[in-house]
């Protein structure tokens, strides 16, 4: 089954096979979704935007704070490197933050609109610093937050000469302190 996502000009192929398809137009990106990943936030968001969503396979959503933190962990250095060419790289970050903040799955159009609210990458970094400690602290048990985020901070501690790792170190501390 193939879905066209007009926001990003990409084709999403849902398949049980690993067989690749090659687009004639090289500009079109093809994303493969395995049937085992139909529970992901990404799939739920994309399928919500699809006109023929009623015929798409459905599986209950499964999202964890670890998934969310993996997204944050990768997004921060990427945003700092790409500076104002961040639009493509923050889709997961905003999708996950809005889900945990408002328990709402944004479709691809809503997601694009949310991203357009940011004027530059510095606003995104401020948004992350302001929102994520609150969002995470209201989502899970305080004992788990302290254990998980103090451990994460420990991993960043050896690389504080990098701006992104310093930012993530301070952010994980701020989340853990919120649970103290």
């Amino acid at each position: 089954m193939i879905i066209y996502n007009p926001c990003n000009e990409e084709l999403i192929k849902i398949s049980r096979t690993k067989k690749q398809i090659k687009p004639i137009d090289k500009k079109i990106n093809i994303i493969m979704i395995d049937f085992n990943d139909l529970h992901s936030l990404f799939y739920h968001s994309v399928s919500k935007s699809c006109i023929a969503k009623n015929i798409l396979p459905k599986k209950p959503l499964k999202v964890t704070i670890t998934d969310y933190w993996n997204v944050v962990n990768e997004a921060i250095p990427t945003i700092m490197n790409e500076k104002d060419k961040y639009h493509k790289n923050i889709r997961f970050l905003i999708l996950y933050t809005e889900y945990f903040k408002n328990n709402r799955i944004l479709d691809t159009y809503e997601l694009t609109r949310e991203i357009e609210k940011f004027k530059n990458f510095k606003e995104i970094l401020e948004y992350v610093k302001r929102e994520i400690p609150i969002v995470i602290n209201k989502s899970i048990k305080k004992s788990y937050i302290k254990k998980y985020f103090y451990t994460q901070a420990g991993y960043y501690k050896n690389s504080l000469e990098y701006e992104s790792q310093r930012y993530l170190y301070e952010l994980s501390h701020s989340i853990a302190k919120g649970a103290a």
């Binding site: 979704i33 990943d37 993996n70 962990n73 250095p77 990427t78 994460q152 050896n158 790792q165």
Partner: protein, 125 residues
Amino acid sequence: MVGSQEFRNKIRSMISQKYNLEFLGSNFDQIASFISESKAQKIYSWVQGVIEKKIQPITISSKKKYKDWRINELMAFRHPFNIDNVEYRIMFIKVKNSFYIEFHLGDHKYYDTVRKSLDLKKGSY
């Protein structure tokens, strides 16, 4: 166009370390041969940025083994670029506070494989 051997030699000379940096990628030589002189200069300048710690790394908290290391001992530097509308990625892997171990160059599919092996990618999307 730069030759693939010239490309490797230049990067090796830039990082100047005793540990043998591995150049990996399913079509490394072919892709390297497509890289124009100006694109190569941009890549060298990016490598210089990595060396000077101006490029931000992605670190992974996974305790899984990756060759002789745990994944949480490594950092990954990512550089996307395109040639004739085809997207390619470089993934440069370093041991934290130590030497560089791998320079990956490949298309999106290869990049996804590297991400999975580094525990960066959880699903198939």
